[in-house]
């Protein structure tokens, strides 16, 4: 079976400045939750955008299930960007219909169950909701897809600690065993327990690609501690 994600010599340069990503080689297998970690400006969001066909690589390739980003990859990748990306004027029920219309793997019932669990009114317009609730709605829509690769950019950055537990539980409960979750965040302590693997990125280069067990067993450290050591200012 092909890896779900492959980056081959992937580079991205904005204008004529330094490379946001520089000759990145990375392979992700299926069925794991992967933490994409690095300090600000390390290239995490650039990598995520390249996976989602929102940026054009300067050179190299990114392959999702063996194909370059395009219509086929978008059918199997469920993406949560770091900021609000939904049309504010739409009602939540309209957004659910929108996702169901465009994504064959969207499970409407799952979305309404999660909305109900969080007490979010499906008839409310998005613009009437708080920032945190909007982020929950986005995550619910993204996790209601039966995707093969979930790419979540800062999924818990804007919500209160109490909601984080529900969101992390939502992530764990709503992906199947063959799916992979690539999750970028600065809140390492909050997510450490759900991660199978971590990838450290520094200045566009791969600094570490290891399982959480390897880090704990071989280095005797938590991911958070190792992160602080590796990226000490």
């Amino acid at each position: 079976m092909k890896p779900i994600l492959e980056c081959q010599g992937l580079s991205k340069q904005y204008n004529n400045t330094s490379c946001a990503l520089d000759n990145l080689n990375l392979t992700l297998e299926r069925g794991q939750i992967v933490g994409l970690l690095g300090p600000n400006g390390s290239g995490k969001t650039t990598l995520i955008k390249l996976i989602n066909d929102l940026l054009t690589p300067t050179c190299g390739n990114v392959l999702i299930d063996g194909s370059r980003p395009g219509v086929e990859s978008k059918k199997i990748v469920s993406y949560l960007p770091e900021h609000t990306y939904l049309d504010d004027s739409m009602k939540i029920s309209e957004l659910v219909t929108y996702f169901a219309d465009f994504y064959e793997n969207f499970i409407t019932e799952r979305a309404y169950t999660m909305l109900s669990d969080l007490g979010i009114d499906k008839n409310a317009r998005l613009k009437t909701l708080s920032k945190g609730t909007k982020e929950k709605v986005q995550l619910i829509l993204v996790m209601s897809r039966d995707a093969l690769l979930y790419v979540l950019d800062e999924p818990i950055g804007g919500v209160d600690p109490a909601a984080r537990d529900y969101i992390l539980q939502t992530i764990i409960n709503n992906y199947n065993e063959n799916a992979t979750i690539l999750l970028s965040t600065h809140l390492i302590q909050d997510i450490e327990n759900i991660l199978d693997r971590v990838i450290f990125i520094r200045q566009g280069h791969l600094a570490l690609n290891a399982t959480v067990d390897e880090i704990r067993m071989e280095q005797g450290k938590s991911v958070d501690t190792l992160f602080r050591e590796v990226f000490r200012c």
Partner: protein, 271 residues
């Protein structure tokens, strides 16, 4: 997929455009009922009020048309290049489909806008007095406009206006989209870039149009008096100018569409 994209684009555009066009039609009805229908063409009293009413209505109609183009431009920019673009570009659709859907939806609404402008203008002007006077003096009226000799049935005029409006709507929409996509190349000032691109494209188009019309001897409205006696020279001049304008609009639209599609396909860099 294309049908779904068009459905959502039309839905989003219709939200405001229906409201402003209903307002336009209501304004036209009010002008007709309270001003033009009451105006006596024989006595010609209160001409100043009527002129002022026409000017205000023309301003309103221009405003509605401008607002339509602006709303189409905003939808295109917001849906593809703002935060909403993160969703739009991750839908399982090609960029060609996105552009096609937005071109169809935008053209549809700009065409509707132009048709409604003509309808409202006709509604305001064609009072019972005007219609009666026109039918009583049709030959003299056409002679004054040098339109005698042309086969101008109402159906032909309407068909021509609809075709002209459709082509004009499509080329205008494509020009707006091309400007926005080219504006994205100005990474720190994409909106300013779009405005500059629009002005640049419009200027180039105007210069090329003038050059082509001059080449065909159609740029000037000065006629040879001896030939004017034929009666149809001015009419033929207008028809030839419109025909060439249509061909130029189609050519510009095709070229700009190809450029826009190419830029969207190869150069998308969502900030």
């Amino acid at each position: 997929m294309l049908k779904k994209l068009i459905k959502y684009d039309l839905k989003s555009l219709s939200r405001f455009l229906i409201i402003i066009h209903v307002f336009l039609l209501l304004a036209a009805a009010a002008v007709r009922v309270f001003f033009t229908e009451r105006f006596n063409l024989v006595k010609i009293e209160g001409g100043a009020y009527l002129a002022l009413t026409f000017i205000l209505f023309a301003l309103l109609a221009s405003g509605v048309s401008f607002a339509t183009e602006i709303l189409i431009a905003i939808r295109f920019y917001k849906n593809l290049f703002s935060n909403e673009g993160y969703l739009t570009h991750t839908l399982p659709a090609t960029r060609k489909q996105h552009l096609a859907a937005k071109t169809i939806a935008g053209t549809f609404w700009l065409f509707i806008d132009q048709v409604l402008l003509l309808v409202s203008l006709f509604f305001v002007i064609a009072t019972s007095d005007v219609v009666r006077l026109y039918s009583e003096n049709k030959e003299a009226f056409l002679a004054e406009l040098d339109l005698i000799g042309l086969d101008l049935s109402s159906a032909k005029i309407i068909l021509f206006l609809l075709l002209f409006s459709l082509i004009n709507a499509a080329s205008s929409v494509i020009m707006i989209y091309a400007s926005i996509v080219i504006g994205q190349r100005f990474q720190s000032h994409p909106i300013l870039g779009a405005v500059i691109s629009y002005l640049g494209i419009s200027t180039v188009f105007a210069v090329i149009s003038a050059a082509v019309l001059s080449a065909f001897g159609l740029f000037s409205m000065v006629f040879d008096e001896s030939e004017t006696a034929a009666g149809t020279l001015a009419a033929n001049h207008v028809v030839s100018t419109l025909n060439i304008s249509i061909i130029l609009s189609i050519a510009a639209a095709v070229i700009l569409y190809i450029i826009t599609q190419g830029l969207m396909k190869r150069k998308l860099d969502l900030a």
